[in-house]
Amino acid sequence: MARKNRNPVGKNVDPEAQKKKTRTLTLKSSDGQEFSISESAAVLSIAIENMVEDDCAGGVIPLPLVDGGTLARVITYLNKHAEDGASDEEKRKFDEEFVSGMEMGVLFDVVLAANYLDIRGLLREVRRRIADRMKNKSVEWVRKTFHIESDFTPEEEEQMKKEFAWAWEGVDSDVDD
């Protein structure tokens, strides 16, 4: 794909890039909701770009692994990142706010969607955010938050506590922040 031309005043404007800005695509979520998005924003997803290039889009692109709520969020992200004149600093701020209020479940929906749609920047951001929330948390907090049941026997658990005793001191209390 030709690199997007960032020239602000129309000199040497790539005609293909211009077309992408005006052309719109329709994305269809797993629950049947349809969203319009400019092609230039949509192709920030490598997976969508490939579908457009292979011309298997045929007007509407079905995304059977992404639900409507998640797709709406992803589209907000794509639109911001395709916006003309948005500085890197603005985008960074946007990313910060975009993920900061998300509940854990939503973060996981978005990380799966970003992985499936191959949106590198979003994937990086959300992965980092999930990790940030897990930092210095106890085993119990992790199990509770992610609904994971321990399948260790009490003896195994005791054994691991002994083996890793050095790593257990000073973890955060289980207050969710």
Binding site: M134, K137, V171
Partner: protein
């Protein structure tokens, strides 16, 4: 998403990627969450992913009155950090006693690469050399590398990993020296040898020792770009950098910057922010930090920082100073020989002791960057790995 299945829905490479970003101790906690996480976190894929993301922290070796120990720290590095609180970010502290069952083994750090640390018993001839992973808590004791030797013979070590094949190698350089009995100046090097121990092979082998140069018995190889580097003096008395390519196992020589001529040049060679760095502490009132901006390009040596010494430190100095890390807030962490660890703020031109109060009672300390890894030494063939 179904609240019951947050991580369960993710492909394993995505789980690995997320968990790789956690602090070391949280990763250990995660091993205890359930069996599938324990298995995932024990895979070589996880160790590789973690090492590629893992950022260098610090290994600090301390010799105190009754005990020796080493401690691994993670750094906090933000542009707007109020203060560095290293002591809150300790990952693990290991006493030598746990490790090799001696109160005062007198260890010295000989290098750190990919999360593995090379230790050697200082002052013991022939040397005992260990490779240790403080995170997986295992170590290897290498076979004895040579025979008994005495000063004025010089033995110097280095530890690193080759650039292409990624082999971990311990290098031992041995120079038999003859000195003028009055001036101690080096007269001749009748015999030199270099031996290499590749981790996983179980034995030392000899390689061509390179040009005859005067190594310092206290310096260790600075590891950068798959090469080891030592600040040396040639037989005419000029400072040089001896460079060993760990892939081809050939020596070459790099010129240092134009240093002021002095009979007692106090230079320390180290790696600072991915560049080769020479820290010159010869002057009575300032420390000069030279950086080789473009690796291997001698013209790119730049006088990067000049730091005025505090009155307490000014005057004739006898020790080498090593910068360790430049932080985003403009502070440099530095070691004054094996005595002190301090921060110098480039912004405010102030100097402060590191916030580990017990360091003031430490007899001897060594500090260098260390990138924690979950790569177990058990993954190397032919090695007798001990756990502690």
């Amino acid at each position: 998403m179904n609240q019951e299945q947050l991580f369960t829905n993710l492909p394993s490479e995505l789980i690995i990627n997320i968990l790789s970003r956690l602090p070391v101790r949280t990763i250990i906690s995660c091993k205890c969450v359930c069996k599938s996480w324990l298995n995932l976190l024990d895979t070589p894929e996880f160790a590789r992913s973690h090492l590629s993301i893992s950022v260098p922290g610090l290994i600090l070796y301390e010799s105190l009155r009754h005990v020796e120990h080493f401690e691994i720290f993670e750094f906090e590095d933000e542009p707007d950090l109020e203060r560095h609180e290293l002591h809150y970010n300790s990952i693990t502290k290991i006493s030598s006693k746990e490790f090799i069952n001696e109160d005062h083994p007198g260890l010295g750090i000989q290098g750190s690469a990919n999360g593995l640390v090379c230790f050697r018993k200082i002052g013991q001839h022939p040397e005992t050399v260990y490779i240790c992973n403080p995170i997986t808590r295992d170590y290897i004791q290498l076979p004895t590398p040579g025979t008994i030797w005495y000063y004025p013979t010089i033995v110097t070590y280095g530890f690193g990993a080759s650039k292409i094949s990624g082999q971990h190698k311990v290098v031992r350089i041995y120079h038999e020296c003859r000195r003028d009995p009055d001036t101690h100046n080096l007269l001749v090097i009748p015999k030199s040898e270099c031996r290499v121990y590749t981790l996983g092979t179980g034995s030392w082998r000899s390689i061509a020792p390179g040009p005859k140069l005067e190594y310092s018995c206290r310096s260790i190889g600075a590891f950068l770009n798959g090469n080891l580097h030592w600040l040396v003096t040639d037989l005419e008395g000029f400072a040089r950098i001896s460079c060993l390519d760990l892939e081809t196992e050939t020596f070459s020589t790099i010129s240092p910057p134009a240093l002021p001529e002095s009979r007692r040049f106090l230079g320390g060679l180290t790696v600072l922010g991915d560049c080769l760095c020479i820290c010159d502490n010869t002057s009575d009132d300032e420390i000069v930090i030279w950086v080789m901006k473009e690796y291997g390009v001698e013209k790119s040596w730049t006088k990067e920082f000049v730091i005025s010494k505090l009155p307490d430190f000014a005057g004739e100095s006898y020790e080498v100073v090593y910068p360790i890390k430049i932080f985003k807030d403009g502070d440099i962490l530095m070691a004054w020989a094996d005595f002190y660890l301090f921060y110098h703020s480039l912004k405010n031109r102030t100097t402060a002791q590191v916030d580990i109060p017990r360091l003031q009672t430490t007899y001897r300390m060594e500090a260098m960057l260390h990138t924690p890894t979950f790569l177990s030494l058990k993954s190397f063939a032919m090695e007798n790995v001990c756990s502690f």
